[in-house]
């Protein structure tokens, strides 16, 4: 097939060919306009929906919360009656924690005295060593919580009062240690009832629960023959005012 160079259309040919594109373009224009107009209600709906920012008010089924979910309800709950406690210890907390630390260090040193005097042997000595280490860890944890406010000093008053009880036979020292663990546990419980800061409360709670176990173990080492003797909890809390940190 030959490709010929087309001659310029004449005016007559142009007039004759005009009618087809004209119709097409008008149909297209009408179609686009029609489509745009048909979208109008939908767009209007969308615009109206976007304008709504507030969630539906209570009363609808959509605000219900499921107890099994992990998201606490945020809408129609009754207003809390108390403000959330602080995480960090308050000034008053720090004073109480310093007393707790001095008691822990005194207990650690008393165990050191007992172990130095060979009051325990074998597996019992190992257990007592682990208990001694635990008390040191408690003191260190308090230091970590209150920083430079921690004096890191044992309570000389408590140490001197108990020192003579921590030398002697396994039974007598274990009895004294069990009583001291009960005293420590009761003291921490008393302190816990005054602590405001959550972090301090959580720490003291994790300490006193294990000191209760220490007491049971030491009662058993001391020869407790009945369950009630094993579980004996005769500790009286020390008053922080009586054991100030110097």
């Amino acid at each position: 097939m030959d490709i010929k160079q087309a001659a310029l259309p004449t005016a007559a040919a142009q007039t004759a060919d005009e009618s087809a594109p004209m119709v097409r373009r008008r149909i297209l224009a009408a179609g686009v306009s029609g489509a745009a107009l048909s979208l109008l209600p939908w767009l209007s709906d969308r615009a109206g929906a976007q304008a709504r920012t507030a969630p539906p008010t209570s009363g609808g089924a959509t605000t219900a919360t499921t107890p099994a979910t992990t998201t606490p309800p945020t809408t129609v709950a009754p207003a809390p009656t108390t403000t959330a406690p602080p995480k960090r210890p308050t000034t008053a907390d720090i004073e109480l924690l310093a007393v707790a630390q001095s008691i822990e260090l005194a207990i650690r040193d008393l165990y050191d005295a007992a172990l130095g005097a060979k009051s325990f042997e074998g597996a019992t000595a190992e257990a007592v060593t682990a208990i001694r280490e635990a008390h040191e860890a408690y003191a260190q944890s308090i230091s970590g919580l209150i920083g430079s406010d921690a004096k890191g000093l044992r309570s000389e008053k408590l140490y001197n009062a108990q020192r003579s009880n921590f030398t002697g036979s396994t039974t007598s020292v274990a009895q004294a240690a069990a009583k001291l663990e009960n005293v420590a546990s009761a003291t921490h419980l008393e302190i816990l009832g005054s602590l405001i800061g959550i972090d301090a409360a959580a720490l003291i709670a994790s300490v006193l629960v294990v000191e209760a176990r220490h007491a049971t173990v030491l009662n058993t080492i001391a020869g407790a023959s009945t369950l009630s003797n094993q579980l004996a909890n005769d500790g009286v809390a020390l008053s922080p005012a009586d054991y100030p940190v110097k």
């Binding site: 686009v32 406690p85 994790s206 629960v209 209760a212 049971t216 579980l231």
Partner: protein
């Protein structure tokens, strides 16, 4: 036949056209823009309900679940009820000695005392005391534990029946220990959630009592299990003396071909049962308590993690009936 060419259309062909392609696009764009403008300015649609045929019951509105101090006390009481149920399972299935039974009886009484104390604090906190077991705790924990002590036929996709325990006494005492440990942990876990210091002290009073019971039971199960070896390691105590001597097993002599065709088969190593310690950790742990019960199978025992209660097992104030 149309003549093909490479000539551009003359200007007159376009300019003579009243509606050009560009004009068409312009008109279309203006129309759409105008439509969007009108839509944005339209009134808010009030009625959003789609048209429908028939009537559908609206979904029920679930009550609001708010964690309050009272809810925590109610939950604690419910778990103590469940622990009493667990102790009764121990008595029922454990073939316990009189001494062991008296320990479990004492623990049941102690849990009843705890429930009474918690009821008082529940009322103080403005909630109604809860008077029965925790349904989720029973369903998710106690039911499978019981099944692995008593044995049961296979269910669902299980391949075989659950065999009854080879040592119900061991499993029952382990169950009692685990329950008291869970009680201690539960109360400790509530400390950061309670709003008032006096409530925190109240739960820790229960926590330390439960911890004492757990420690005493650990020593009753095995007097040598005083301190977890990991704690001993932390304390730099070199060798725990309570470890049993390792058992040596003879290697199987397969290659040795003697006149006699008997071969020495290696003895299976004794199963390493879960150990429970009077002092399991240096600080009070909030980890899940692992309880292993049932007959060892395939080198393992059925082990279940006992978690402290959380949002899906709390006893909320809207729950009014046991």
């Amino acid at each position: 036949m149309t003549i093909m060419n490479n000539q551009t259309s003359p200007d007159s062909f376009v300019t003579a056209e009243p509606l050009s392609r560009r004009g068409l696009l312009r008109v279309g764009g203006l129309t759409i823009g105008f439509a969007a403008l009108v839509a944005a300015c339209a009134d808010e649609v009030k009625e959003k309900k789609p048209a429908r045929v028939g009537d559908v019951t609206p979904p029920a509105k679930l009550p609001d679940a708010v964690v309050t101090d009272g809810v925590l006390f109610r939950t604690a009481a419910s778990v103590h009820y469940s622990i009493i149920d667990a102790h009764k399972i121990s008595k029922e299935l454990g073939k316990l000695s009189p001494e062991q039974t008296s320990i479990v009886d004492a623990y049941i009484a102690a849990n009843e005392t705890a429930i009474r104390d918690l009821a008082k604090f529940t009322t103080d906190a403005g909630s109604k005391p809860w008077t029965c077991a925790n349904p989720r705790f029973d369903r998710v924990l106690l039911t499978p534990i019981r099944a692995h002590i008593t044995g049961r036929p296979k269910e669902g996709s299980e391949e075989s029946d659950v065999a009854p325990s080879d040592d119900p006494t061991r499993d029952s005492l382990a169950l009692a220990y685990a329950m008291e440990t869970v009680a201690a942990e539960m109360h400790q876990s509530f400390v950061p959630q309670l709003s008032l210091p006096k409530y925190r002290a109240a739960v820790m009073q229960q926590s330390q009592a439960a911890a004492r019971r757990a420690a005493a039971l650990a020593l009753a199960i095995n007097p040598a299990n005083i301190v977890n070896p990991l704690s001993l390691k932390n304390a730099n105590v070199s060798t725990p003396t309570t470890v049993e001597a390792t058992t040596t097993t003879a290697a199987q002599e397969i290659t040795k071909t003697s006149a006699a065709t008997t071969t020495t088969v290696a003895k299976p190593a004794p199963f390493d049962f879960q150990q429970y310690y009077a002092i399991p950790s240096q600080f009070g742990s909030l980890n899940a308590v692992q309880l292993a019960v049932g007959v060892p199978s395939g080198g393992a025992q059925f082990t279940i993690n006992l978690e402290t209660p959380s949002l899906n097992s709390f006893i909320y104030d809207y729950q009014t009936e046991c």
